[in-house]
Structures are given as C-alpha cells and as structure tokens.
C-alpha cells in the first residue's frame, strides 16, 4: 500500500528540502479525487496498489471511485494530534465504498452524536490540515451525510 489520507506530523527536512511538500504533491490524485486502482481480475483497491492483492498481477489501472459509501464503524476524537486541534471533537470512520474497498477518513458536516453505523455518506474535498501559518495547506477527502438535489 502507498498513499492514503493520513497526515503525519513529521515536517521532515533532509538537506534543507521539505519532504512533506513532495509527499503531499504525489498523493494529490487520490486525495482530491479518490483515484485508486483496478486490476484486470476486477479487484479494486484504495489507496492505489502496484500489485493486485487478489491475483498478484501487475500493473494496475487507475480508477476514480464515485465517492459514495456506508459507515462501517467510527470513533470520535477529543484529543487531537498536532495540526488537528481546531477540529475537535471530530469523528473518523471506516467507510465501505460502494465499489468495494474500505477506507478510513474523517467525517465532516455532521455532529458526533448523529453518526451511526450504516449511515450513507459521500466524499467531499476539504482542508485536512495546515502546516502552520506559513506552510502548505493540505486538502483531501473527507465524508459527510449525502446531500440531495431537491428541497
């Protein structure tokens, strides 16, 4: 597995180069648009994989997931890691995407007491964190209760 939406807090610098910038840049397709991979055998993966976990075939083709799914399980955080303090309390969830893979993500636009297993959710692109007042703003997927089209 490579990628995902987790934001580590190690603002790694090697030789004066901020590795966070390049790492976040490499992940932009999966974070902004939920781009994973699909194997010839039909297995779909998120985050994207180089080798199919089912048939061990390579290569994998990129596929954009629809972004709709169902809450499988969840937990609410009241003590946040560095960089996430402004969001507490917030809920992270395991989400069964309609196309197959299960992913972990933060929920948004929903109060913790209103989250339930089986709740239908959709992907939105939001701020994941800010690297301080002068650093990068990291955007990526979160999930919220589905918003309908009509009043």
């Amino acid at each position: 597995m490579y990628g995902g939406n987790c934001c580590h807090n190690n603002n790694s610098h090697i030789g004066g180069v901020n590795l966070e910038i390049s790492r976040n840049w490499r992940l932009r397709n999966q974070r902004y648009r939920l781009v994973g991979t699909e194997c010839g055998c039909g297995h779909r993966s998120f985050p994207p994989r180089r080798i199919c976990p089912t048939c061990r075939e390579n290569p994998q083709n990129p596929v954009q997931f629809s972004g709709t799914g169902t809450v499988y399980s969840y937990s609410t955080l009241y003590e946040a890691p560095e960089g996430f303090e402004q969001f507490i309390p917030y809920t992270v969830a395991l989400i069964d995407l309609d196309e197959g893979p299960m992913i972990s993500a933060q929920l948004t636009d929903v109060d913790p007491e209103d989250v339930a297993i089986g709740m239908r959710v959709e992907m939105v692109t939001r701020k994941l964190k800010e690297q301080g007042e002068s650093g990068l703003i990291v955007y990526g997927y979160k999930f919220r209760p589905i918003v309908g089209c009509y009043p």
């Binding site: 932009r28 902004y32 969001f87 948004t108 636009d109 703003i137 089209c149 009043p151």
Partner: protein
C-alpha cells in the same frame, strides 16, 4: 466561420455562448444577526440579515469552489478534460501567492491542459471571470470555460460588516449557445475608481466608507450597468421575468430594483442574502443560480454584480429548454440554505480561526 460582428456599447461575443452548467456550495453553519448583536450590545431589531453562513473549520474558498465546480459539471455532464480555462474569482484566497484555480482544476480533473488563474475585483470577481469565459468561448479559443465566484468573506468584529460577511460560492461552465441552459444575450461592464471598500496587503479585515458605499458606489454602478445594457439591446424591465443584483444586505438590491422600476417579486427568487448573508464574490452568482433553479424556458434574466473599487457587470440571459433536465442533476441553492446548523458566537470564533491555539 465567424458570424457578423456587431460593434456597440454592449459586450457580445460573435458566436453564441451561454451557461452549460452551474453549481453552488454554501457551508452548513449559520450565525444569526441577533447573536452577533447580543455580543456587542447592539439592537437586535435592526440587523441587516437574519443570519449568515459560516465556513466550517475545514472549509475555505478553495473547498467551496471545488464543490460548486463539481456540481456545475454534474449539471453540464461535460468531461473535465474539455475545459479550456478554470478562472476563480475571490477576495479570500487561502494563499497570497499560489493560485486557488489550479487546486480546483486539479480536484475536478481538468488538469493539465488548462488555463488556470485567479481573478480579483472585490465582490464582482466571479462575474469578471464569467465575462472572460464568455469571451474565450465566443472567440473559439476553447470549447468550455469555468468561472467561479467563491469567498469566505471577512468583516472586522463589531463592525457592521460582521453581520453580513458570509461564505459560499457558485461555478458556471460556459460553452456554446446551442448547448446552453441559458444563452447570453449581451453584457455590459461599468467601472470607475471609487474607493468605497478596500483591504491593504497583510491586513486581515477590509475598511469601508460607511454610507459612501451606497449612493456613489453600489447604486451608481449597478444602475448604470443595468440601464445601459437594457438600452443597448432595446430591453425594458417588462422584458425580464427575473432580476438579480449583488446583495450586500436585504435592502440594497430591493432599492436598486425600485430605481430601475423592477417590481420586488422579480427580485425575490434570487434574493438569498437574508438567509446566508453577503458571500462577496459568490453573492450575485448564487442569486443567479437560485433564479435558474426555478426559471422556465423562455424566461429572460438580468443579473447585475457589484464589486467595490468599483464596478458592475450586467448580463442578459435567455433560459432554454435544457434547464428543466439539467437543474435536477445537482443540489439546488435551497437545499444548501435549508441544510443549516446554528452556532453561537463562541463556535463562530472557533470556526473562523479567531482563537489562538498556540
């Protein structure tokens, strides 16, 4: 082959263009005018809007733009790689140097063969981008161009602007006339150096000229742009089923309508400031979207923006048969207005990053 070029005061591309798709986004949170008045000991009976939208802690002009753009593409059903330009108008860019438009373009899948740029003209940055999109598509340089008006508006605490400065935005995919749900009949832009509202580099909040923002600024530019457009193309208020004005509060657009002799019922479908406040660059374009949500084929809509500094863009649109099917493909403005959670002043401060965390 180019059609006949007609040169006049009105601005009209020499190929038919229009709105192929539109989409909006309004954050979920609201703070009431009464709650703000309570904190500052003001009269709750004279607040300029009932409540205003508040961005959530993970929202900014870019995230607002991404969802609005995605909704515009849902309505248009145009492959994002066919978009020639993504032009984002805002006065609350998350980065001082780094385009919002390239992040939005990346998120909707329009990169890399796309022109991306940010536009600024206070509250009319969104319609300024629309004007450029009409010109780009009308000239044949691109098949489609996306214009956005997006903001998380700033207002100094205890200032009258704090009651209205809100968050939201709209995106309009501009394309050829025959593919459009609303065809551009003509437009007219009007600008002058009128310093009614401004924000200097590195300052967090804007400065405004209080009553000066009314007569020589808002009303002069809005009325001039609207009346000169109608005169240019031989239209009168009776020809329009709807009119949309920039809405910094509830009173200004209704007064502008009265000056131009439009009855209030033609303004009210697009008058959303009482419920979500003034979304700055998103303001008039959200009103236009709310009007498209209920308009019928054949209806004519006049939309007039206003940006401090100062200027107005006026557009005359004719709604086509394509509106009926396309407006059902993405959330209506009223869906986002009704999706609301009231917050108190303390939570409002937390969400707008007014609290120092370290």
């Amino acid at each position: 082959m180019l059609t006949e070029i007609v040169l006049g005061d009105d601005m009209k591309p020499n190929q038919h263009t229009g709105i192929v798709g539109y989409g909006v986004y309004i954050p979920r949170y609201r703070i009431s005018g009464c709650e703000i008045a309570r904190v500052w000991g003001q009269d709750a009976g004279s607040v300029p809007v009932q409540e205003k939208s508040v961005p959530g802690p993970d929202e900014d002009a870019i995230t607002i733009g991404i969802e609005a753009a995605q909704n515009a593409l849902k309505r248009a059903q145009v492959p994002p790689e066919k978009i020639a330009a993504v032009w984002a108008g805002s006065e609350s860019k998350p980065y001082a140097v780094k385009p919002s438009s390239s992040i939005i373009a990346e998120a909707i899948g329009a990169t890399p063969h796309v022109e991306a740029a940010d536009w600024e003209f206070a509250c009319k940055a969104g319609t300024e981008a629309m004007q450029a999109c009409f010109a780009l598509v009308g000239s044949g340089m691109g098949l489609y161009a996306l214009a956005l008006g997006i903001d998380t508006a700033q207002g100094r605490p205890a200032d009258p602007l704090e009651y209205t400065a809100a968050a939201g935005g709209a995106a309009f995919l501009i394309g050829k006339g025959e593919e459009s749900l609303a065809v551009l009949e003509a437009s007219h832009s009007y600008a002058s150096d009128t310093p009614d509202f401004f924000r200097r580099e590195s300052n967090r909040y804007p400065v405004h000229g209080s009553r000066f923002t009314g007569e020589p600024a808002y009303f002069h530019h809005v009325v001039q742009a609207a009346s000169e457009l109608m005169e240019d193309i031989g239209r009168t208020p009776e020809d329009y089923q709807y009119v949309v004005f920039h809405q910094p509060n509830t009173k200004f657009p209704l007064t502008a309508a009265k000056i131009l002799k439009f009855p209030p019922e033609k303004v009210k479908p697009g008058l959303i400031a009482p419920y979500i406040g003034n979304t700055y660059s998103g303001c008039s374009v959200l009103g236009l979207a709310a009007t498209l949500d209920i308009a019928s084929p054949g209806d004519r809509i006049l939309c007039v923006s206003y940006g401090s500094g100062a200027g107005s863009d006026a557009f005359s649109f004719i709604v086509t048969d394509l509106i009926e099917e396309r407006r059902m493909r993405a959330p209506h403005v009223s869906v986002y207005i009704e999706r609301r959670k009231a917050v108190d002043y303390a939570v409002y401060l937390k969400y707008t990053k007014a609290l120092v965390m370290r």
